[in-house]
Symmetry: C2
Subunit: 127 residues, 2 copies
Amino acid sequence: MEKEWRRSMPLLSMNIVMQLTGLTARQIRYYEEHELVQPARTEGKQRMFSLDDIDTLLEIKDMLSTGVNIAGIKQIFEMKKNPAAKNDTKQVITDAQLRAIVKEEMQIAQRHQRASLRQGDLSRFFR
Amino acid sequence: MEKEWRRSMPLLSMNIVMQLTGLTARQIRYYEEHELVQPARTEGKQRMFSLDDIDTLLEIKDMLSTGVNIAGIKQIFEMKKNPAAKNDTKQVITDAQLRAIVKEEMQIAQRHQRASLRQGDLSRFFR
DNA sequence: TAGTATATGTCATGTTAGCTAACATGTCAA
DNA sequence: TTGACATGTTAGCTAACATGACATATACTA
């Protein structure tokens, strides 16, 4: 789409971006240093920002004010880029272990009649 | 599914959870305080954890070691719960503003022949 | 009933993240 | 060529985060 073009074109100088975002140059460089933005560069090494960059910066600003730190923001950005990421809660406990633990717990529980929360015949869930 | 049952059943005492996760009681309580886990309680107010809770705790431990802070973890958990969340980069700059900015920039650029990055006739993208 | 395990709350502390300030140097429009 | 603007770097401040450490009270276990 044509619009995408515009938003990703590096046109804006540091100066303008500072005004547009209310961030200091140092802050912006800091975020770049931590790979949260990747502005383009002129041949003379000066940063040129796209409007997407602006949005990103504003997002950063927003999340920081929420208490999320740089590492967190980075993580979140990655999740957005790759929503399919194998980010499922990795089951560190296997079903085998699980069964063992549960079994043991159940025995203790039965021995002492302290199936506190779920009263009744819990054992039907495990064998 | 039957398995889900097991994993979400609150069975495990603080003691066991500490061993299973390698976390201190203080840490676990701290995470609960910040609403990252919601263990069930016995009538006597004692925490009872499910295996899902364990997974959550291990995830927290992992992310913390990665440098993500509590606020970030919270945010990420919410994103997982609600992937559809209106988390699209909110366009703080309207297309109108955008056009104005770009136009101005373009004029300067043309005046000074410094369309630095993208050489050529940029103006065809904007009017 | 004694003893161990938890709960909750408060105070303390180390570490570090995010930032400011200040340079000396380099770019770039006029 | 000049002055405003940017650059990378270094040094240092400050606030807060995540835990530890206690103290006291209540809950379980034996």
